[in-house]
Amino acid sequence: MTHNLKTETISFVGNQGDEIEGYLALPTDVPSHGSIVVIHHLPGYDESTKEIARRFAANGYAALMPNLYHRLAPGASADDAAAIARNAGGVSDEQLVGDVQGAMHYLQALPTSNGKVACIGFCSGGRQSFLAGCRLPLDAIIDCYGAFVTTDSTPEFPLSVRGLLGEIPGITGQVLGLFGADDQYPSPEQNNELTVALTAAHKPHEFHTFEGAGHAFFNVDRPSYRPESAVEGWKIIMKFLNKTIGEHHVHLPN
């Protein structure tokens, strides 16, 4: 069903006590709900990712997307902020984890929260979602085609991005991975490597790879969009959330 919802831009406490901006989408017709932190991709705190936050609220979950570039470009348009962030070398892993932790605490403090929190990210955010799941007590972790989860970035990259296989023991939640069979970043071989590592560490997970889809198949604004894969992917995501952070949603009496 589609839930009523409200959205607002909020300020919350992120990494090292910094006040940063976030986009909050809340279902308004449920007595309690699970929550999800939505991590935007490298191109920024943009409209398409805000639409994803609203989608979660329409499905009965509170969603909060931190503006990871707020410190560098407060009030700037998403594309300008992303350009400044890239010029400055991007967002460090430590800052990302601190901001997700702040978002997690904000969501858990909502009076209607059931205490459970998931995290999701797409593209660079997919790796960051997995990273957050390794370091924070999240109940569910969703990685949509995040590159550099199993491998390090090459030395010439100005932003050092490390593989995360060594951090798998820190995972406490269930993991969902959604990938395109035609993607090379991450490649199917790398996703298999990640499956093997999660299995060896006894971490509950499920991976789905979609034939005929490459990178960013969820992105409705781009030529990479693959509607059949995206529709099926969203079904899998909602089923996974219901299992990990959900509950039976009951309409509040008028």
Binding site: A83, R86, S124, A147, P158, H215, P223
Partner: protein, 88 residues
């Protein structure tokens, strides 16, 4: 993928932003998902002046063929210019 590979340059230039002409101090060149250009990945160039804020920016997004031809044309124009005519 969201690539992390970025060429960062210090430049002496001017660019026409939404607010008018501004001095540009930095440039970044990278391949990633474009914001507007209709492609999965594109070559992007940003001219920036971070000291003036995030909106002091001129951005370009283009396909590989355009980018290579642009790079070639820039070098050709510079090579063909009379020696010493450019202020350096």
């Amino acid at each position: 993928m969201c690539t992390y590979q970025t060429e960062v340059l210090t430049v002496r230039a001017s660019g026409k932003t939404a607010a008018g002409w501004e001095a540009m101090t930095d440039a970044t060149v990278y391949v990633d998902h474009p914001i507007h250009f209709s492609a999965g990945h594109a070559l992007m160039i940003d001219f920036l002046n971070p000291n003036l804020g995030a909106s002091a920016r001129v951005g370009l997004e283009m396909d590989e063929k355009s980018a290579r031809e642009l790079a070639h044309s820039i070098l050709k124009a510079l090579d063909d210019a009379p020696p010493g005519i450019l202020d350096n």
